[in-house]
């Protein structure tokens, strides 16, 4: 990695941190404008206990003061304590859940990239044959079906049999962490985006295989596999990479639905649970993590460019 790239990455990291702070501030301010307080939904509390609790969470202070305290914590990497489960520190909790979500997200990106590029490439080199039409039809279907529908279909196809064998829900009961649990939700999360990648790869490939340098590669007497993979696909991927940024964002936010459906203990599930529980501290924390994740994912995509295309330098 060149010096320029490192400097560029460092600048981007600073920007990502700023974004995360801004996002969390907006959420913090927004959430404190809601009527009532965090304990409003709890069963009726003894006023003294309630006062003690409010004091424990600094909720008895005016909100600008709370904000200052909270920002101070954030800058030290401390997102505070869960309102519902007293004593649970949010930062380590979210970090743990982020690893789960990132694992799932990466698996989904692999599904997207692998399935999408394979289908797109095959469709392009077999243009206007039944293979092309089948791949294109599959792509339209894949794209039109939202990921939660895929999730239900896949659950019916794969998880439901497991449910009967294990006598319980597949994910929650046996816990998360086994590699064999990853593929099904990753498929559900990645397939709709794989369809987009397939269509883009096909279009890009069709353009590239007509380029002069591909003709040069054939004229040199290279094997078809080398011409397609080394000479055509590598160039065709450059425009495809540019949609990977928004696409990863989609996958990250899509994980909210998928994790909830599959009962995967990740950031997405926490997002839903914390809102339902009105655990405001966690809600803000999750937003902050999401903001950082989206930023980092886009940075990672931008760092792929110079690897694929030597003409791009930061």
């Amino acid at each position: 990695m060149s010096r320029g790239t490192l400097i560029y990455a460092a600048q981007r990291l600073v920007l990502i941190s700023v974004t995360a702070v801004v996002v969390s501030s907006l959420v913090f301010i927004g959430i404190h404008q809601l009527p009532g307080n965090a304990l409003a939904s709890e069963r009726r509390l003894n006023p003294a206990t309630e006062q003690a609790l409010l004091h424990h969470y600094n909720l008895d202070l005016p909100w600008p003061q709370q904000y200052v305290l909270w920002i101070q914590g954030l800058l030290h990497g401390n997102l505070g304590e869960s309102l519902v489960n007293m004593g649970t520190q949010i930062t380590p909790l979210l970090l743990r859940e982020t690893t789960v979500s990132v694992t799932l997200g990466l698996a989904a990106v692999c599904v997207t990239v692998f399935v999408g590029m394979t289908l797109g490439t095959i469709a392009a080199i077999r243009q206007n044959t039944w293979v092309d039409y089948a791949a294109s039809t599959a792509a339209v279907v894949g794209y039109s079906v939202p990921s939660f529908v895929w999730a239900f279909l896949l659950i019916l196809l794969t998880v439901a049999p497991f449910y009967n064998w294990t006598g319980g829900t597949f994910y929650e009961d046996i816990g998360w962490g086994k590699p064999e649990q990853i593929p099904v939700p990753a498929l559900a999360l990645g397939l709709p985006y794989a369809a987009i990648v397939a269509r883009l790869t096909r279009a890009s490939m069709l353009e590239v295989i007509r380029q002069d340098y591909v003709r040069t590669a054939w004229a040199k007497g290279l094997k078809a596999r080398i011409v397609i993979l080394r000479h055509a696909l590598r160039n065709a991927l450059i425009p495809v990479i540019s949609i990977l940024g928004p696409l990863i964002t989609g996958i990250i936010t899509g994980s909210v639905v998928i994790e909830t459906l599959f009962g995967i203990p990740g950031l997405g599930k926490e997002f839903v649970t914390s809102i339902l529980d009105r655990d405001y501290n966690i809600v803000i924390g999750v937003f902050t993590f999401y903001a950082a994740l989206v930023g980092l994912a886009n940075l990672a995509v931008d760092l792929i460019y110079p690897v694929l295309d030597p003409r791009i330098r930061y």
Binding site: D212, Y213, R215, T216, K220, G221, N235
Partner: protein, 317 residues
């Protein structure tokens, strides 16, 4: 969209010896490039090649995929018109040369790797040792064409086809590329087909000339003879349409009226007759054969320029 069959190239046949440079000239669309691409079976979709394409004893159309692959770049190598787009932008120049050798069995992996720098030096790329790691965008147009030539000759092919190798380059660079092509064909004793519409280039470089029109050879012969005594009206007009430095401007330049025929609807008889100033009735109905007009010189014409008393004034009418 209308569809139809276009016979871009029809019945082309010529001989070429090792060490010889043959120029193929003709207007755009006369089938020069198609002839070359057919020989490598690289005619772009939806183009079709039918009949036979013989290279020596081998029929290129009968070859299995493996055979044609071994043939391309090994027996016959090709250099394309635009060096800016003919090299893969994401692969290092040295690698692209090495890969050309690796694709064939002439050299071992080790030999291919060791030959890259000498090949680049041979095509006179300065500081070849350092530049072997460069990407194409770090090369100038002339250097890229040199790299293309290095790639083309790396397997010591018996035939090298250069398709307008200097058209996309600066005039100053053109001369050095042409010089390089001539020297390298001598060193390797390779036959070279130079496709061009630059008559001056042909005059200075080629031993023999083939003139193409509407997918056919209309005249063929030693360069001197063709330039001195062109027999086909098309060749004659081509030569009269360019100014010459070595002759006092005693003659007016003559243009060829009209455009090349639409090959989906070729004219009957001689394909050149609609634009010909010397046509006779027979030209409208019967296509002339490619006949010998002088030893070694062939022309496809019923009239022949030598039978015309004063072509200049005839053409000016």
């Amino acid at each position: 969209m209308s569809s139809g069959t276009v016979h871009a190239v029809d019945g082309i046949s010529f001989d070429i010896d090792r060490g010889e440079i043959v120029g193929v000239v003709g207007e755009s669309g006369s089938g020069k490039t198609m002839t070359a691409l057919s020989l490598l079976r690289l005619v772009p979709e939806p183009g079709k090649i039918s009949g036979r394409i013989l290279f020596g004893e081998q029929d290129v159309l009968q070859m299995a995929d493996d055979e044609i692959r071994e043939f391309r770049g090994n027996e016959v190598a090709m250099i394309f018109q635009d060096p800016m787009t003919s090299l893969n932008p994401v692969l290092r120049v040295g690698f692209q040369v090495e890969e050309a050798m690796d694709a064939h069995r002439r050299f071992t992996r080790q030999q291919s790797r060791e030959r890259v720098v000498p090949m680049l030096q041979r095509v006179r790329i300065p500081a070849a040792k350092e530049r072997v790691k460069d990407f194409p965008h770090q090369f100038s147009g002339g250097m890229r064409q040199r790299a293309m030539i290095a790639m083309g000759v790396s397997n010591e092919p018996s035939l090298l086809i250069a398709d307008e190798p200097t058209t996309a380059l600066d005039v100053t660079v053109q001369a050095s590329i042409i010089e390089l092509l001539r020297d390298i064909s001598r060193e390797l004793r390779a036959a070279v087909i130079l496709i061009t519409h630059n008559m001056a280039l042909v005059a200075s470089l080629c031993n023999r000339v083939i003139v193409m029109y509407a997918g056919r050879i209309v005249e063929e012969g030693p360069t001197r003879a063709i330039f001195k005594n062109p027999q086909h009206p098309y060749t004659w007009s081509l030569l009269r349409s360019m100014p010459r430095v070595d002759e006092v401007a005693k003659e007016r330049l003559i243009s060829i009226k009209g455009v090349p025929p639409d090959l989906a609807k070729p004219p009957a008889g001689c394909k050149f007759h609609p634009r010909c100033r010397f046509r006779i009735d027979k030209c409208f109905t019967e296509e002339p054969p490619l006949g010998e007009v002088d030893p070694g010189q062939l022309a496809r014409c019923w009239v022949l320029m030598k039978n015309i008393q004063d072509p200049e004034s005839e053409a000016m009418r």
